[in-house]
Amino acid sequence: MSASPVLRPLIVVPAWNEEQTVGETVREIRGVMPEIPVLVVSDGSTDRTVHIARRAGARVLVLPFRLGVGGAMRAGFRYAVRNGYDAAVQVDADGQHDPKQVPALLDELGQAEVVIGARFCEQQDGYRVSGPRRWAMVLLSKVLSRLTNTRITDATSGFKATGGQALPLFAEHYPDEYLGDTVESLVIAARAGCAVTQVPARMRPRRGGEPSHRPVKSAIYLGRAAMALVLALIRRWDITPVPVPQLRPAVEEGVP
């Protein structure tokens, strides 16, 4: 596809104390896609994240205390809806997600409302897991694939594009609990009738920061993943998207 189905996309970068990496990430995104504004959501950062992100040319939402990735992303989605954007792409501040693959995600938004940039889609050798962690991923991908009627191999990928009806839906209902921003959000989207799809995306090693899951904790991870999945499946969601008032048309570029 040559013409992107998305007219006004926004890139959302959730960041919690990422002063080491956020500047480079923002500059890289703006280098690849100078026309797309970048919104960094500082999730209660206590370091220089806000300052560095601003200097790199991003708009910055400063959350007064830590809400977790889910809360940061929901703030980003709400900002997007209120300012008239029609798509939001999550790119992590640690440099794991390659901005060059954002257009590929956006292109798919014509057919789907949630597009996942998935690891180990095809011939992926950069990301290998085994043991309970692997079982967790298999379980998640099996259940979510069935629920969304599409093949989802990497349900826990944060690299996602959201558009269409999913955007106002997530602005109101994006979950903030463990694995909520990935697993549960897909369940909500599927329940609301939003089409979900995935495209292969190569992940890069993180530029810095702690990995959020350590291999030692893989057994606990399996338990929590199963728990999160069960909770997501049995929860009742009032999924009628609440109309958010449009405060004003968006300003074109980042804060000078």
Partner: protein, 124 residues
């Protein structure tokens, strides 16, 4: 029960009731909880004042040891209260989160508006 014990228990439960009323009076306790705790306070005073009442209810219900009835009802009640408070805390957390998100968005909006105004003032 000795005379002394009876007096201490009675004073204790009246103090609890007085404490609840005082919290209410100072508006430190929301009305929705107030009724609940008032009932608890009054029941407490009644049972301390007339211990025979508990014994009679227990035997009517077929509970051999009257205090067991007391413990059973108290535990049931407390579990209910704790569950309600957990629910309340979850709801409050959700509301706080939404407020925090909105504050962040509004702060950015204000900063941008100020910037625009500054630029405008400078060109004027």
């Amino acid at each position: 029960m000795t005379e002394n014990n009876y007096l201490i228990a009675l004073i204790g439960s009246v103090l609890v009731l007085a404490g609840i009323v005082e919290l209410l009076r100072r508006r430190q306790l929301k009305e929705k909880y107030a009724v609940l705790w008032l009932i608890v306070g009054v029941v407490l005073v009644i049972f301390t004042a007339f211990p025979a009442l508990l014994t009679r209810i227990a035997s009517a219900l077929g509970v051999a040891v009257p205090t067991n009835l007391l413990f059973f009802v108290a535990i049931l009640f407390l579990v209910g209260v704790v569950l309600h408070l957990s629910w309340e805390a979850s709801r409050l957390e959700n509301e706080t989160r939404k407020l925090a998100e909105d504050v962040a968005i509004l702060r950015l909006d204000v900063a941008e508006l100020k910037q625009e105004k500054l630029a405008q003032d400078n060109t004027d």
